[in-house]
């Protein structure tokens, strides 16, 4: 088990390394002087020269890269050209908001989808099953691009039940969370349902019944654990599109998180910010995936086999 954890950590470090290289090269991809991208428009020549020094543009690439990495490890993610303050500070301010949104969405999504999927799978062909499948099928095609706007239109503009934008109260959380949680919950419902269906058809479930275990216990204690495996795996996979979704959702609902920050930064060409945000989001996902895999290995001990 420990071996597996160490192996996963090692793999994650490798991925982080590659991501950092990608982020590093990002600003050097565009034609022209990279230093120009990292300073505010209209900066004096001195400022530009200072940036060139900082980036080490006259040094060999690998030196530039080491400088970049060492800066990051010291907490220096560069200076934002739109805000004129260190990137790290802004990110630190905004990250908790995105985290709140993400965690709330995942929790709400799982709380609804897992029981729904289990009930649907263990009661195939019933009304609940059809309802769950219908809702899930629709949800899979839902995109934050239009869902966010529709929800706002209906609940904020037409019905006036919820605030449209901002972050003031818990009410502001409802629409963004609904937008993010629904498509994810739809996928999880489907996976939970097929997970339970597959599990329930296994020999060992018949054997469990043969021991006198009740249907309720079989569904919710024994089969559930087996069905969790594909669910946990799926959560890991969808976290990526989750983060992508926050870019749209935060922009639409005026939520000051790193998603909105990303969108703004791209629009004003704040490359220092864009570069850092890529690094941060990819790193977050790599780490979350690692955690998900480790959780899965606790549920399914066979995963630790090489």
């Amino acid at each position: 088990m420990l071996e597996y954890i160490l192996k996963r950590i090692g793999q994650t470090i490798f991925v982080l390394f590659i991501v950092s290289i990608f982020a590093f090269f990002l600003i050097r991809l565009a034609p022209g002087n990279p230093a120009l991208l990292m300073v505010p428009d209209g900066s004096s020549d001195e400022v530009i020269r200072a940036m060139e020094e900082k980036l080490g543009l006259h040094d060999p690439l690998y030196v530039q890269y080491f400088r970049y990495i060492s800066d990051i490890l010291h907490g220096d993610l560069g200076q934002s050209t739109q805000y004129r303050v260190p990137v790290a500070k802004i990110v630190a301010d905004r990250l908790p908001n995105t985290a709140l949104l993400a965690v709330a969405s995942v929790v709400v999504g799982l709380l609804i989808s897992i029981p729904l999927g289990i009930v649907a799978g263990s009661h195939r062909g019933t009304g609940v099953d059809f309802f769950a499948m219908f809702v899930a099928l629709l949800g899979q095609s839902f995109s934050p691009v239009w869902l966010s706007v529709f929800l706002m239109l209906v609940f904020a503009n037409v019905l006036g039940l919820l605030p449209a934008m901002g972050m003031g109260s818990w009410k502001n959380l409802i629409l963004p969370v609904a937008t993010l949680a629904y498509p994810m919950a739809a996928q999880i419902t489907r996976v939970a349902r097929s997970g339970i269906i597959d599990t329930l058809s296994e020999d060992y479930i018949t054997a469990t019944y043969a021991k006198g275990i009740s249907r309720f216990e079989v569904n919710w204690k024994y089969a559930l654990k087996n069905a969790l495996i594909p669910i946990v795996t799926l959560v890991g996979i969808t976290i990526g599109s989750f983060l992508s979704g926050t870019v749209i959702v935060e922009t639409v609902f005026g939520w000051s998180g790193i998603g909105q920050l990303m969108q703004q930064s791209v629009n004003v060409r704040d490359y220092a910010m864009v570069q850092s945000l890529i690094l941060i989001s990819a790193s977050l996902i790599a780490i979350i995936n690692m955690i998900v895999d480790i959780i899965n290995s606790f549920i399914d001990p066979r995963m630790t086999l090489s």
Partner: protein, 283 residues
């Protein structure tokens, strides 16, 4: 698999039928648009802005109203649809080409090639697709070719993985082993034995990729990184219409529904195909 069985299953699979029907309708409406549209999608006509939907004169009237610049929403919808669908077709074709070739090599030859390809996939997958596309567009500029590049860059991986996994399973099966023992050469084995079996999976994953591509392009256009104004795209129509939707909702409702239908139908198609092409199913 037998063509007759496939056709028969197609006729009875509601997902496939609904999905395919909607897609065909969308394709027809959008690609035939130059033949019937009456308005110009990009020219502003401020005198006519914010007209409510008006069905009175058929296509000569603004059946879905006009937007904030006085442009006919329906025209922009179908023209934008044509653009989005074309981009999706190109992107998916490229994704499939790259993904299948790499997947075939990785799956069939295994070893170092497989390791390299799989690592490559892992790396690309480690960055969320949309964020990756945003980064590429931000740095390289919002041209059409950059858009296609950014979308293909992130998406070939799914096709590759599916192909590779399939090839791995097939390679170990006895009919391939038998071919090898009989002395068949590699290209023959790959082309004649393995590829046809992988083809069915490619159809399924292709449908999924189509839906994804439409969504991704919409998201990028929404963020003003894809199709640039004044050219219409469903994504940028929603984005532009957001500001006014409290009083003029059709600017966002129309493209939103179009997006939803398009993606839904591709997902239905993909689901239907998956059931239809499942070799283990007992009719």
């Amino acid at each position: 698999m037998d063509k007759k069985i496939i056709l028969n299953r197609m006729k009875h699979n509601p997902f496939f039928i609904i999905g395919a029907t909607i897609i065909v309708l969308l394709l027809l409406i959008c690609f035939l648009s130059p033949l019937y549209i009456q308005f110009d999608p990009t020219v502003s006509d401020l005198a006519n802005k914010f007209q409510a939907p008006d069905l009175s004169a058929g296509l000569s009237s603004h059946i879905l109203g006009t937007d904030n610049m006085g442009r006919d929403v329906f025209t922009r919808l179908v023209v934008g649809g044509r653009v989005s669908l074309t981009i999706a077709i190109i992107v998916v074709a490229l994704q499939i080409s790259i993904g299948v070739i790499l997947g075939l090599f990785a799956g069939y030859f295994g070893g170092v090639i497989d390791i390299i390809v799989m690592r490559l996939c892992e790396i690309v997958l480690s960055i969320p697709q949309l964020i990756l596309a945003i980064a590429i567009m931000a740095v390289m500029g919002p041209s059409l070719s950059n858009l296609v590049f950014a979308m293909v860059f992130g998406g070939w991986v799914h096709v590759c993985k599916v192909t590779r996994n399939n090839v791995l399973v097939l390679r170990k099966q006895e009919f391939v082993q038998a071919s090898i023992v009989l002395g068949a050469k590699t290209p023959h084995i790959v082309l004649r034995q393995i590829f046809p079996n992988v083809l069915t999976q490619i159809f399924v994953v292709g449908s999924q990729r189509f839906g994804e591509s439409i969504l991704q392009e919409a998201a990028l256009s929404f963020l003003q990184l894809g199709i640039q104004a004044p050219d219409p795209a469903w994504g940028n129509m929603i984005s532009a219409g957001r500001t006014f939707m409290a009083t003029y909702p059709w600017m966002v409702v129309a493209p939103g529904i179009a997006l939803m239908l398009a993606v839904l139908s591709f997902n239905f198609l993909g689901d239907g195909l998956r059931d239809i092409l499942d070799p283990k199913r007992k009719v």
